[in-house]
């Protein structure tokens, strides 16, 4: 079966495709039919009854015809009721997750996604096994977002302080883009990540390494992995360029002016405090938008990040 992109619809990669695409194409043919019906009728009437003489009058004042009127009331009614049931039936499939699903918690925050696996692994891209139902429990740390995978034809808004559910079952391996479709601020269009669908054994292998990322790595290497995995890269650059947050290049040991907090020496304590309660001392010229990492980062991860920052001279 050809899974590539068609004129109207993106590539096919989930079980929802055979719910949404047939309904979409059916409707496409209905709208082609009605559209060309109207346009052909209008063009034919216009050409046939064009006014040749300036004082030419209408040839007949036909003003009503009950059967015609009832016709174009009942027929559209039947068509739309049919469409309703098609949509309704498909919708129930797309909302009710089958038994035996694998659950992943998704956290959206201003302009980055993070995926937490039950085994404790945390990743910034969603890695799932093929042909197994996956249920995502979505929540947001700040404003509304929306988790949209065009290839899977599925989308769900991400609401702060609640878990919103979304399930899918990938039918083929590959990497499929994920987009945020609910407006959420400056980098709304950069809040992108990907779903990596892999074979079942490759998945369990990956899961094993991802569950304990620090194993066998020096704190600096572990810090580097966390830099991307925890979404720090969304706001802090490591090449010195100013982003939403201060750059980490040459940060350690520098004096920072924190406005009300006065001049602060950037040492281990300050970095730890800025991670766990970021609005305590905000560097001048930056917005206090950093999310709270208290309870999100384990102590080993904080140490790893600090040692990684130290390496960035």
């Amino acid at each position: 079966m050809d899974n590539s992109k068609t004129f109207w619809l993106p590539e096919k990669a989930s079980t929802f495709v055979d719910i949404v695409d047939p309904a979409f194409n059916l409707y496409l043919y209905i709208s082609y039919f009605f559209f060309f019906l109207i346009i052909i009728l209008v063009t034919v009437f216009t050409i046939k009854y064009l006014r040749r003489r300036p004082d030419q009058l209408a040839t007949a004042q036909i003003t009503h015809n009950l059967t015609l009127e009832l016709g174009w009331t009942i027929i559209p009614l039947i068509v739309v009721m049919g469409l309703f049931f098609i949509g309704m039936k498909g919708y129930l499939h797309m909302r009710v997750a089958p038994a035996g699903y694998m659950q992943v918690n998704v956290k959206g925050q201003k302009w980055a996604w993070s995926f937490e696996y039950p085994s404790g692994a945390v990743n910034d891209t969603l890695v799932v096994p093929v042909n197994t139902p996956v249920k995502l429990a979505l929540t947001s740390r700040d404003v509304l977002h929306s988790f949209f995978i065009p290839a899977f034809r599925t989308k769900a808004d991400v609401i702060p302080n609640r878990w919103h559910a979304l399930w899918f079952q990938a039918t083929r391996t590959g990497v499929f883009p994920v987009e945020c479709t609910q407006y959420c601020g400056t980098n709304h269009s950069y809040m992108l990540t990907a779903v990596k669908v892999v074979e079942a054994d490759a998945y369990s292998e990956w899961l094993a390494t991802a569950s304990d990322p620090g194993k066998g790595k020096t704190p600096e290497q572990f810090g580097a992995i966390l830099y991307t995995k925890r979404g720090c890269s969304a706001c802090h650059s490591i090449d010195g360029s100013k982003a939403v947050g201060p750059s980490w290049k040459g940060l350690f040991g520098r004096q920072e002016n924190c406005g009300a907090g006065g001049m602060v020496m950037v040492d281990e304590a300050y970095i730890r405090e800025s991670m766990l309660s970021p609005t305590a001392k905000v560097v001048m010229g930056y917005q206090p938008v950093m999310p709270v990492f208290q309870g999100v980062l384990s102590d080993r991860e904080v140490v790893a990040l600090i040692s990684y920052i130290k390496t960035l001279k």
Binding site: I38, Y49, L57, A58, P76, G87, M88, R153, S189
Partner: protein, 534 residues
């Protein structure tokens, strides 16, 4: 019959000239013209914002706008176009001018209230422009909580502006409904009223019953911003979905307030230029009122993926399909009106046929969004952007420009240049469809709306869309220059240049201060054309 004062039969443009007389006038015709001028200015402002960020979208990389500026521009484009151009649009400009003329009255029921409505509109517009200076409002015209709860001063000013503009819209609707009930000319029963007035009546119902809920939503959002009472703010136990319910309970009837007046103008122009009585008058009249009523029960289809309960999703999807029936009736009746007519393709008729094309696409793309399973894929993508532009710009603004051309001789006493008008009409048609049809394809391919940076595969669609917008802008400016030029080099317009049968064409062009030298007696329907003697 009370014959009015003799001295007032000079036309309304010349009787009491001078800026002060215009600013304190209570004559519905002058208020209509002032509304028309303001609305066209804001249409150009909103359009420029759209033009700038369309240029920015030429490539996925940064052209000349930063992401923040892009967000501010699409927010201002949305707010100015919705609250300042298309919602007041046809009712305030053409409705104010034409309604008393079409029912044979001297003026609206409450002239002073009409002037208050104009001043509230200007006050709201001033505050909206002030919000541009007072900071950067980048929350979109939908102002969803919790993003709009960030105490951003510009956002708060924009809410105050929307409050006054909503109040001005209520007063216009109130004036129209009372006038149509109590001040019709002798002999004009409800079924001898032109269909433009039925559309104004349906719009009035929605303005009266929907806009107050917008007022409450804005008050609650303002109080939530200042005191944080916790109704909408999720961090204080509130529910952002409740804000979406309050917002869309107004905003869906608002999109029908936008499009129903367009239906009214289309019925007038199609009947007049095919010299034929409208097909199925009562069906078309009742379908306007039916859309007004159904418009109140369908707002949930904006929230299918927002986390609404599945039962509510199903009920809203079921009810949304019923809005397709009155629209289908109207489109089929307009097509049937052309049958056996004598069709004269003047500029207004070109705009009316273009309206028919655009509204058919707009309506069809709307119904697919009501199909639950497909909407999960299409929601918040460019498909939705293209759908509501086909309806708001492709149907309403095209009908509005057609209506301005149709009543221009009556309003100004001058004829615009016909050939330039036709060229502009064709440019608008080609430009509009080039701009927005590709967005349908881009949207169903999965490109989200309000995106500053997009996937490279969508670049070709954005580029076609931007080129289309250039053609559309050229067409609109040609039409504007053609109309304004007619003040100087336009020929003097006769009382009834198109040979239409509705009452406003019995008054002079431009009409005297009290519309009719003596109150007309209505003996026949609004489209009683004769037939060709075989």
């Amino acid at each position: 019959m009370i014959a009015h004062v003799q001295g007032d039969n000079i036309n309304y443009l010349k009787t009491r000239s001078g800026i002060m007389n215009w600013l304190v006038t209570v004559d519905h015709k002058r208020i209509g013209m002032m509304y028309l001028a303001s609305i066209l200015c804001f249409f150009i402002t909103g359009g420029t914002f759209a033009f700038l960020f369309r240029l920015e979208l030429w490539s996925p990389l940064k052209e000349f706008l930063t992401p923040d500026q892009y967000n501010q521009f699409f927010t201002l484009h949305g707010v100015i176009m919705v609250f300042l151009v298309v919602v007041p649009g046809i009712p305030a400009a053409l409705g104010n001018f034409i309604l008393p003329l079409q029912i044979g009255a001297k003026d609206l029921a409450f002239p002073k209230l009409n002037l208050t409505s104009l001043y509230l509109y200007w006050l709201g517009a001033a505050i909206a422009l002030w919000s541009i200076v007072a900071g950067h409002a980048d929350q979109g015209w939908t102002m969803y909580a919790p993003y709009s709860l960030s105490q951003n001063p510009a956002v708060l000013w924009m809410m105050v502006a929307a409050f006054f503009l909503g109040f001005s819209s209520i007063l216009t609707g109130l004036n129209f409904i009372v006038t149509m009930h109590n001040m019709r000319a002798p002999g004009m029963t409800w079924y001898r009223m032109p269909l433009f007035l039925w559309a104004m009546y349906a719009t009035g119902i929605m303005q009266i019953f929907a806009t107050p809920v917008l007022a409450i939503t804005l008050i609650l959002l303002l109080i939530e911003n200042f005191f944080g009472i916790g109704i909408f703010d999720p961090t204080l136990g509130g529910d952002p979905l409740l804000m979406q319910h309050f917002f869309w309970f107004y905003s869906h009837p608002a999109v029908y307030i936008i499009v129903v007046p367009g239906f009214g103008i289309a019925s007038e122009i199609i009947a007049a230029f095919s010299k034929k009585d409208i097909f199925g008058y009562r069906f078309v009249a009742y379908s306007s009122v039916a859309i007004a009523i159904i418009g109140f029960v369908v707002w949930g289809h904006h929230m299918f993926v927002a986390g609404q309960s599945e039962l509510a999703d199903s009920i809203f999807s079921f009810l949304t399909f019923f809005t397709a029936i009155p629209s289908a009736i109207k489109v089929f009746n307009w097509t049937a009106t052309l049958y056996k007519g004598s069709i004269d393709l003047k500029t207004p008729m070109l705009y009316a046929l273009q309206f028919l094309w655009n509204f058919t696409i707009g309506g069809l793309t709307g119904i697919i969004l009501a199909i639950l399973s497909v909407d999960i894929h299409l929601h918040d993508t460019y498909f939705v952007v293209s759908h509501f532009h086909y309806v708001a710009m492709g149907s309403t603004m095209v009908a509005f420009i057609g209506g301005i051309h149709y009543w221009w001789p009556k309003m100004t006493g001058k004829m615009y240049n016909e050939t330039v008008g036709k060229i502009a009409a064709w440019l608008v048609f080609i430009g509009f469809n080039a701009t927005f049809f590709v967005q349908l394809i881009m949207g169903s391919l999965g490109s989200p709306r309000r995106y500053y940076h997009y996937w490279d595969q969508f670049q070709i669609y954005h580029q076609i869309s931007t080129v289309g917008l250039v053609i559309l802008a050229i067409g609109l400016f040609t039409a504007l220059i053609n109309l304004i030029g007619s003040f100087w080099n336009g020929s003097v317009a006769p009382a009834n240049p198109w040979g239409a049968k509705t009452l406003e064409w019995q008054a002079d062009s431009p009409p005297v201060l009290y519309n009719f030298t003596e109150t007309p007696i209505v003996t026949h329907g609004p489209y009683a054309f004769e037939t060709e003697k075989a």
